[in-house]
Amino acid sequence: MAAPATSYASFRRSLIVTGDEVAHLVTLAFGATVVLITVLLVWNLWGASAASRSKFGIGFLWGTNWDPNANDFGALPFIYGTVMTSLMALVLSVPLGVGAAIFLAEMAPPGLSSACTFLVELLAAVPSVIYGMLAIFTVVPLMHDYVEPALKGAFGYLPQFQGPMLGVGYLTAAVVLAIMTFPYIIAISREALLEVPRDQREAALALGATRWETTFKVVVPYARLGILGSIFLGLARALGETMAITMVIGNDSIMHASWFAPGYTIAAVLANEFAEATGKLYTGALVELGLVLFLVTMVINALARLLVIATTRKGSAKAA
């Protein structure tokens, strides 16, 4: 009891140290759950797909037949549908989304910008089944009545634009996915553009660049990583999208060259067939499709990393 102040201080110091340690352990545990969940997920999918993996082997990836009655399963129509619709969606939504973000961040008057941003964030939070309904009642008839006939008229000599126009199929699914990924791309690209330091702009303007040149030669290249990030987030949503796609893609497990034709995606076939699937092989094949989707997502994420690394080396901006 002689030196209460000292002991109190040492007590506090020890508390801080242990507090740090506790925080370290707690956050480590939180971090570990990410790894744990990923490992558990893969392990689970791997185990549950045993029957299908041993029967079809690696050929599952390029098998084109999906016939529950003949117990013959191949993943290619679904991989093709998933990748095709997602990439087509990005081709549509990236120019639109990035363009809109540039406008909102750089050009629009502040009042308009904040109003639009609010709407965009609202759109990003709309559940996908709502987009599915919008698609069925609006996009499908529009595609069927106007867009597909126009495309057929203009590019009918290409195999992609031939065949009967059903209103549902790869192209419609891609348009719906584009609508769904669009708000993500705008919201995140806009944030990235706003993060560009003020002095970058001022320096460009001081060098005699016009506002237009400043935006395209300085601001957009500087925010490039954030914009890429927004695109990959959009892509991730497109690859895994289920409800809205099931409603508009036509759910046909035969591959078609025509973009007007019905197709299928991995997420859609899982949603449709899993509940009624019977037998080890059939359920195994469906689980293996889940594994394939995981793989596709990983490959695309890896490609995204590579792209980021490649562009960082060339450019002036630092990696985020």
Partner: protein, 334 residues
């Protein structure tokens, strides 16, 4: 004094909940509306028995019965030999109600089309691609059919409805039998898949020249137009609750002892050809005596008084002969 009484009341209610016999089942979605009503009515008559039913799909029902996680299953498709062999305790099939499947199409100004067996198989095989094909026109003299494309719409989700429809197609068309075959999901030779009856109906309604198939109950509830189908006797019939029940009566004469029977393309002039039973799957041996008594009582009630509920919910009731055959089967549960 009020609080202790309330507490006692809650405790009593808790005790009552605990003592109520909970019986769990899972399976087909198609009969869910009437099963829900039956279980509720049966509970009102027998407050000590509570039957819970999860409508997860026939496949899931069979899987859960096999794993032993439910007391009974339900399916729109009879179990096959491999599925029966996988069961630890053998199960009995009890037909409960009947369903029909109807062809619905979108051709403005052309109601009541008649579909011959040849036409309906050809359309869904993708061999008949135009509405004015002679194979469709033959059964519809005087109807001006357009020269437009036929757009086939089928179920994308695994479904008992698809099983009944493809089972019918397999019986009337050798090409279908050796090709796509019958199951709850199949590899469709043509067309677009949509989810659920509402998905198929919606797509057909929206697309001129489309044809799909939906459950009779769904078509009746939504007052949809649907076509007539040629039956085994060569008569064109529109599906109604009566023609569907007649299909079961036609099949009753040759009913196998285990009730695992397909009644599509059933003989008889009034028998609608795309009809099916839906089954409850009850284990032959139920160790818990209370549960056994409760289930047996339920089956007896369902086959007699319960059948009277069918029509108001749009289900076709079982014919009398089948009810008599089933009542005998109940004694096999021990």
């Amino acid at each position: 004094m009020k609080i202790p009484i309330a507490v006692a009341g809650i405790m009593l209610a808790g005790a009552a909940l605990v003592s109520a016999q909970a019986i769990n089942g899972a399976g087909a979605t198609f009969p869910y509306p009437i099963y829900g009503k039956w279980f509720e009515e049966f509970r009102q008559k027998n407050p000590s028995v509570e039957i819970n039913y999860q409508s997860k799909g026939s496949g899931a029902g069979i899987a859960q019965l096999t794993e032993g996680t439910v007391d009974f299953g339900a399916s729109d498709k009879p179990m096959d030999e491999t599925q029966l062999a996988a069961l630890k305790i053998p199960a009995l099939h009890f037909p409960t109600v009947l369903g029909g499947v109807v062809p619905t199409y979108n051709l403005p100004g052309i109601p009541d089309l008649k579909f011959s067996s040849e036409a309906i198989a050809g359309i869904f095989l993708g061999q008949i691609t135009k509405w004015n094909d002679p194979r469709i026109a033959k059964a519809n003299p005087g109807v001006k059919l357009p020269a437009t494309d036929i757009i086939v719409v089928h179920r994308a989700d695994g479904s008992g409805t698809t099983f009944v429809f493809t089972d019918y197609l397999s019986k009337i068309s050798p090409a279908w039998k050796s090709g796509p075959g019958s199951n709850t999901s199949i590899k469709w030779p043509a067309g677009v898949g949509q989810q659920g009856n509402e998905g198929v109906a919606g797509m057909v309604k929206q697309t001129q020249g489309a044809i799909g198939y939906v459950e009779l109950i769904y078509a009746l509830k939504n007052k949809m137009e649907y076509g007539s189908v040629q039956n085994a006797a060569g008569v064109y019939l529109k599906a109604t609750l009566d023609t569907v029940t007649a299909a079961a009566a036609g099949a009753a004469k040759n009913m196998p002892a285990d009730f695992r029977v397909s009644i599509t393309n059933s003989p008889g002039k009034d028998a609608y050809p795309i009809a099916s039973f839906t089954w409850l799957l009850i284990p032959t041996h139920i160790p818990d005596a209370q549960k056994r008594t409760a289930l047996v009582n339920f089956l007896k009630w369902m086959l007699t008084d319960g059948q009277k509920n069918c029509a108001e919910l749009g289900y076709a009731p079982l014919p009398k002969q089948v009810v008599a055959q089933e009542l005998k089967q109940i004694s096999k549960i021990n």
